[in-house]
Symmetry: C2
């Protein structure tokens, strides 16, 4: 089974990477872009287990390693039966 984790900076935290990408996009002619937020996208291939257990396990991975909870928030998606 596969888990997808999206880690982003908290809204209150400034995002210099996002600001840089936004101004580059504007310079490339994409004036419609108002704001850009950059984050991490993590795909985890795991042994099969019940969905709820998988979610708790991945939450524990986020707390211990994948996300810095002081500055970042994370969302978890569990995809059953996906390679």
């Amino acid at each position: 089974m596969k888990a997808k984790v999206y880690v982003t900076l908290k809204k209150s935290i400034s995002d210099p990477k996002g600001t840089a990408v936004k101004s580059s996009l504007n310079q490339l002619g994409f004036q419609e872009v108002k704001e850009v937020r950059m984050g991490k996208y993590i795909e985890i291939e795991m042994q099969d287990m019940p969905k709820e257990q998988a979610k708790e396990t991945v939450q524990s991975m986020c707390k211990k390693l994948l996300a810095n909870e002081v500055m970042e928030t994370y969302q978890i998606e569990i995809m059953e039966g996906q390679k």
Copy 2:
């Protein structure tokens, strides 16, 4: 409106970051983890426009800046009416 872009390395490309995260997770006791792929998660806040036009615009952003098409693939999600 908001666009979400997920940029990941092509399967054929080795992912040293993902390998490092996988071994760290295994060392932390998460033996159920078999593989980890790291990528970029980008949120773009844009002026409202028709969904199809927004998708084409973001695809153009990916080709020009957000993704390196030699090594990476990307997925785009358009969220209408979302701040």
